[in-house]
């Protein structure tokens, strides 16, 4: 079993749970098991084509799975996954071009320390 940390804005879809236990031998299988148990979560994690939405970052023991084997990354018993969304947006660039914008390169920057709350 693997523990998945759910970000706060998605916890209404896990009954308020911050962490849930899932089964699966890969990241993809673990995520599939997660949405199987919490189906309302699916539309916020996956697009209509079944791909992970661009803002969804998955970390395995603090490492972005994109830097590992992506969703095919194997899981070991006791592994801990974290779903951490990137938050992005912005003004329209042009009606024709707006949806062609490349996704931002959302990556954790080691050592970056955000300010504390004011």
């Amino acid at each position: 079993m693997t523990i998945i940390r759910v970000p706060a804005p998605l916890r209404p879809y896990t009954g308020g749970s911050k962490e849930v236990e899932v089964a699966g031998e890969t990241v993809a299988a673990a995520l599939a098991d997660l949405v199987k148990h919490y189906p309302d979560l699916k539309r916020h994690l996956f697009d209509d084509a079944g791909a992970l939405r661009a803002y969804v970052n998955v970390f395995l023991n603090d490492e972005d799975v994109r830097a590992l084997q992506g969703e095919a990354t194997p899981l070991e018993p006791g592994d801990r996954l974290m779903i951490i969304p990137s938050i992005a947006g912005g003004a329209p660039i042009g009606q024709r071009d707006e949806r062609r914008e490349p996704a931002p390169s959302a990556r954790i920057r080691p050592g970056s320390v955000p300010p504390r709350p004011a």
Binding site: S86, I87, A88, G89, G90, P92, R99, R109, S112, P114
Partner: protein, 150 residues
């Protein structure tokens, strides 16, 4: 659907947008969920991590910043209730890019910054089917009620 924010905190959001101009400025709003309303009590201005050449039309809050903000909020007994960002030289309306990247639950406060001066703020929330963002009421509370805010 309402976002309640003390006037002093909204002024700081405007100041943040003006300082970020001509780039977009962004951050998180901390506070409490009170029924259908979100009540802002603290701000967390954050760095725009989008690619530098696109920051005039895009913002990005990095996942590590969000994770730390969630921990900070929990320590303060608060929650992240929303996101604020500026639209330099563009109306304070949610774009399709805003919608595509929006998370449920959060309120999204958008400020138009025209020629380095903040003009207007509006507030938006993603619909449950992710089809669009609906505008919600933005209630600016009296400075006399700002006592618990900082």
């Amino acid at each position: 659907m309402t976002l309640r924010i003390p006037s002093g905190l909204l002024a700081r959001i405007w100041q943040h947008g003006q300082q970020a101009y001509p780039e977009e400025g962004a951050g998180l709003m901390l506070g409490r969920f009170v029924g259908e309303a979100r009540v802002v009590t603290h701000l967390l201005p954050l760095e725009n991590h989008f690619q530098p050449e696109s920051r005039g039309r895009r913002y990005l809050i990095a996942p590590r910043d969000l994770l730390r903000a969630e921990d900070d909020a929990e320590r303060l007994g608060l929650e992240i209730v929303g996101v604020f960002h500026s639209h330099p030289d563009h109306p304070a309306r949610a774009s399709s890019f805003d919608t595509e990247w929006a998370l449920p639950v959060y309120s999204y406060l958008i400020t138009q910054v025209q020629a380095a001066r903040a003009l207007e703020s509006t507030c938006w929330r993603l619909t449950e089917d992710r089809a669009r963002m609906d505008e919600e009421a933005l209630v600016i509370t009296d400075p006399a009620l700002d006592e618990e805010s900082s």
